[in-house]
């Protein structure tokens, strides 16, 4: 076997027309051992790392019939730059594709990119100021036009234009994108940027065609007919869309990967509720896949017992946590409660915060409320595993809490409520209306009562609690309560955006219409410094250490009490083989879904 033959074979593996296993078998036939063959592939860049993070695609032909997916929320629009939530992003992802997506293990997987940029392949600049993406050649939009670098540059111009009012603007505002040639684009950053895989990647990175949107790239963006009739590069072509009801697609015969997609048609039906969605898959098998089953684990287990389908639990970074207000919600300064110049009368004492953390019975919460869908955690930053701190503990002890409070001088009054210097341990604890949250509140309330702390529970409708309405006092951003609880999500496999929730310049206050991300209003100079350092740190190991330090600082202060992780839970028929990831959309690799015979 000559070198040229070898190169050709490796080329076929890279293009996907020869499987890695097939390559190794042929090598064995000419006397090259399997490990050696694997290494050959690795050196040649037919990245085994990426192959590991995505399960092998088995089908050798198309024509797999219909794929029926059930969402209990319905998609309302199909322009990824307008998507308000994951439902719309998922629906758009059927037709549109980004340059790369995040696999389940937190690594990047190329989609419209020819390869993932790295220092080795000269895609990443050593100073972290730019990244060069090489685009896959021969990709066509559904209408037959070629996909080129112009489309990528156009998406940047489109998303960053304030007149378009895109929801993805945050990822495109502060970068500069230039076209090098028809299949190469360069993204430049103002500062060294270790987290470079944001623009054009995953949920914010879906690319829309320039030739159909260029006349609608301003205030008239909403008039584009393509908003409702997408033309993308994805595995399925647009067939039909009814806002708030159903999205349908049919197989794209010219898809840029061989033997894909497997299914002839795909349908995403929306509406209804999570429990009946679980039933329609696990019990009656009317549908193949049900999204985001926020259902009690007990019910899921009962439905699984029917033996038709199974539940997928995919870890991500989302965490349910309790915040202890660092400011005083009951004093008004300049007409603003929870003002940054005030201090919480009770939570300023570390002993009280420590006691509150000791009073959280995570084990019972996991066991009796969330089950598999909410493993207890003592960390705010849990995933990817390289960022998980080993230094935190989860202790539940009413006795220790009593001890800590006694030592700090908080004595019980005649009514059993502790007080010190006229400050009583009586807190308002708010969260959104949601059955597991109300049950968690009760568990905390009961434990606190045994330690001489009285907690008043408050629950607010989710659409109010999570709104950005400046006039409403009950939003989570205003935090006009002593404690509150909700889930914060982590949309990328990098913690930078996630950990800015505790930096001092993000404090939520009137000046930023309570849109700041630091809602706890906790301030710490060391945290700020660590965050600044991580923003520019290019060494991945040092950077991970900085994020672990940040987690330890904020969790150690006990202003933040992590409760449970919130992995994404979905259900599918036993025969369906979906490819899921906790770091990207549900549909992030719909091209690779198939059904086993």
């Amino acid at each position: 076997m000559t070198e040229d033959d070898l190169r050709q074979l490796i080329g076929r593996v890279k293009r996907g027309s020869l499987s890695r296993r097939g390559f190794i078998r042929r090598m064995a036939a000419v006397g090259i051992t399997a490990p050696m063959a694997t290494q050959l592939l690795a050196i040649a860049g037919a990245a085994p790392a990426a192959a590991r993070s995505v399960p092998a695609y088995a089908p050798t032909r198309r024509g797999g019939g219909a794929l029926k997916i059930l969402y209990w929320q319905a998609s309302t629009l199909l322009n990824p730059h307008f998507a308000v939530g994951t439902t719309n992003q998922d629906a758009s992802r059927v037709f549109y594709e980004p340059l790369a997506g995040w696999a389940a293990d937190g690594t990047l997987h190329p989609i419209l990119a020819a390869e993932i940029p790295s220092i080795e392949n000269k895609g990443l600049a050593e100073d972290g100021r730019s990244v060069t993406w090489k685009l896959k050649r021969g990709v066509k939009w559904h209408d037959g036009q070629d996909f080129t670098a112009d489309d990528v540059v156009f998406n940047w111009e489109y998303a960053r234009n304030p007149a378009v009012a895109s929801t993805s603007a945050g990822s495109y505002r502060d970068i500069n994108v230039t076209k090098i040639d028809d299949f190469t684009v360069k993204v430049e950053f103002a500062q060294p940027t270790p987290f470079w895989a944001d623009a054009f990647v995953a949920s914010v990175g879906m690319l829309i065609p320039k030739h159909l949107f260029k006349d609608f790239a301003g205030a008239n963006s909403r008039d584009a007919p393509t908003n409702l009739r997408p033309v993308g590069t994805g595995p399925y072509r647009f067939a039909d869309f009814r806002p708030g009801d159903v999205v349908r697609g049919e197989a794209n015969p010219n898809y840029h990967l061989p033997n894909r997609p497997f299914f002839d048609t795909v349908e995403i039906k929306g509406g209804g509720d999570a429990v009946s969605a679980a039933r329609a898959v696990l019990q009656t098998a009317d549908y193949d896949y049900a999204w985001n089953l926020q259902v009690e684990d007990e019910i899921l287990k009962r439905l699984e017992a029917a033996g038709r389908g199974r539940v997928n639990i995919i870890e991500g970074g989302a965490v349910e946590f309790i915040q202890l207000n660092a400011t005083d919600p009951n004093r008004e300064v300049d007409g603003e409660r929870s003002h940054i110049s005030t201090e919480h009368p009770a939570f300023r004492d570390p002993a009280v915060r420590r006691a509150m953390a000791l009073l959280l019975d995570r084990k019972s919460i996991e066991e009796f409320i969330y089950g598999r869908t909410g493993p207890a955690t003592g960390n705010f930053l849990n995933n990817p595993p390289r960022f998980r701190s080993p230094n935190t503990t989860m202790e539940f002890s009413v006795e220790r809490a009593n001890q800590v409070l006694d030592q700090a001088g908080w004595a019980r009054g005649r009514d059993g409520i502790r007080a010190k210097d006229g400050v009583r341990l009586r807190f308002v604890y708010q969260t959104s209306v949601n059955a597991p949250r109300q049950r968690t509140q009760q568990i905390v309330q009961q434990a606190a009562r045994r330690a001489g702390i009285e907690i008043e529970l408050k629950s607010i409708t989710a659409s109010v609690f999570f709104s950005s309405d400046v006039a409403n006092p009950d939003t989570f951003g205003k935090f006009y309560a002593d404690m509150q609880m909700y889930t914060t999500t982590m949309p990328q496999a990098d913690p930078q955006r996630f950990m800015n929730q505790y930096v001092s310049w993000e404090i939520s206050q009137r000046a930023n219409s309570w849109q700041g991300r630091n809602i706890t209003r906790w301030r710490n100079a060391e945290y700020d410094a660590a965050f600044r350092a991580a923003e520019g740190e290019l060494d991945p190991i040092k950077r991970a250490a900085l994020f672990i330090r940040m987690n330890d600082l904020v969790v150690g202060s006990n202003h933040i009490i992590p409760v449970v992780q919130r992995p994404t839970v979905s259900g599918n028929l036993n025969t369906l083989r979906p490819v899921l990831s906790g770091w990207d959309l549900t549909m992030w690799l719909l091209s690779d879904w198939y059904r086993e015979a």
Binding site: L77, N227, R242, T284, S463, S468, Q515
Partner: protein
């Protein structure tokens, strides 16, 4: 008659204006905005959210927004959905066929139950049939639709596995199979709504027929030696149905308005489910359009019922 019609139409204008002012103020005062999911997503900077609010005009004072809405409505523009970023009339028109089909056929089912059962029960008052019909009717309208809906799903879909409980507006089939699939998935929602409405109407028909059957002219008809069938059909039912017709006319707006709970349970993409999802998402233009159109229909069908009444019953005149 024409004068009466003009007077009624003129009265309708201020009441519609009043309705729209109340609806708009209540919605504007209601807390929340359409960007709940953006708020907890760290990848979306707050400026983007604020810009979105401004671009949708959410930061303008209420009266400015109301006048903008009213002038647009007068020009025939129903508004623009915050959530779907398309015109509301397109959203509503897309949902109308399914709503008319499901709710319309449920009303037909209700009538088909109520008329024969009500008339038969009234002609044999306090018989065994009347008692059974009465009991079932009471049961029917005391059980709320969300309960019967879930009961139907549990029994017919999960236990027996006969009928699908997810309604699909488009079926991939042609010919008779297509028709059959549509019927199969519509059976449960139509029956749930039809039985509920039918139970209430049965009681109404029965009492209307009882009122008429005791009148002297019925006795006269019988004394003439007419057949019982003719007496009931030609003399009793015809007159007894006058109030029933008005009742059905008043019920018509609901056919367009959809059935919120039932649509949600069976995932029927009708106007009711559009309304509830718009309310949950704080999509004000859609809520305004749907409720406003609904109030227009109520006023219109009220007028129609009054006119119909006069036409059916010559004793009533509008001059």
């Amino acid at each position: 008659m024409t004068q009466y019609l003009i007077r009624r139409l003129l009265i309708a204008v201020p009441s519609l204006l009043g309705i729209s002012v109340i609806l708009f103020t209540v919605l504007a005062l209601a807390p929340g905005d359409p960007f709940e999911e953006l708020a907890t997503n760290p990848a979306v900077p707050p400026e983007v959210r604020m810009q979105l609010r401004a671009s949708l005009g959410l930061d303008d004072p209420i009266h400015v927004r109301y006048i903008a809405w009213l002038t647009a409505m007068l020009r025939g523009e129903w508004g623009f959905s915050f959530i779907s970023r398309i015109d509301v009339d397109r959203l509503i028109l897309q949902r109308l066929p399914t709503t008319l089909l499901v709710i319309g056929s449920s009303q037909v089912v209700a009538l088909m139950i109520a008329l024969p059962v009500g008339v038969l029960a009234a002609t044999r008052p306090y018989s065994l049939f009347d008692k059974i019909a009465n009991t079932l009717a009471f049961l029917g309208f005391s059980l709320p639709t969300f309960f019967t809906g879930l009961l139907f799903i549990l029994f017919f879909s999960i236990y027996l596995d006969w009928l699908p409980f997810v309604y699909r507006s488009q079926i991939d089939a042609t010919g008779w199979r297509w028709v059959w699939e549509h019927i199969r998935q519509a059976i449960m929602p139509v029956m749930v709504l039809g039985l509920f409405q039918g139970a209430a109407w049965t009681r109404f028909v029965r009492s209307a027929v009882l009122d008429v059957i005791r009148l002297d002219y019925v006795t006269t008809a019988r004394a003439k030696g007419l057949e019982e069938r003719v007496v009931i059909n030609r003399h009793v039912v015809r007159n007894a149905l006058i109030p029933v017709v008005t009742l059905v006319a008043l019920q018509m707006p609901t056919v367009f308005g959809g059935a919120i709970v039932t649509e949600q349970i069976f995932r029927v993409p009708g106007i009711g489910s559009l309304l509830i999802s718009a309310i949950l998402a704080n999509d004000t233009p859609v809520i305004m359009a749907v409720t406003f159109v609904f109030s227009c229909l109520v006023i219109f069908f009220n007028l129609l019922a009054d006119i119909l009444y006069g036409w059916l019953d010559p004793r009533i005149s509008y001059s």
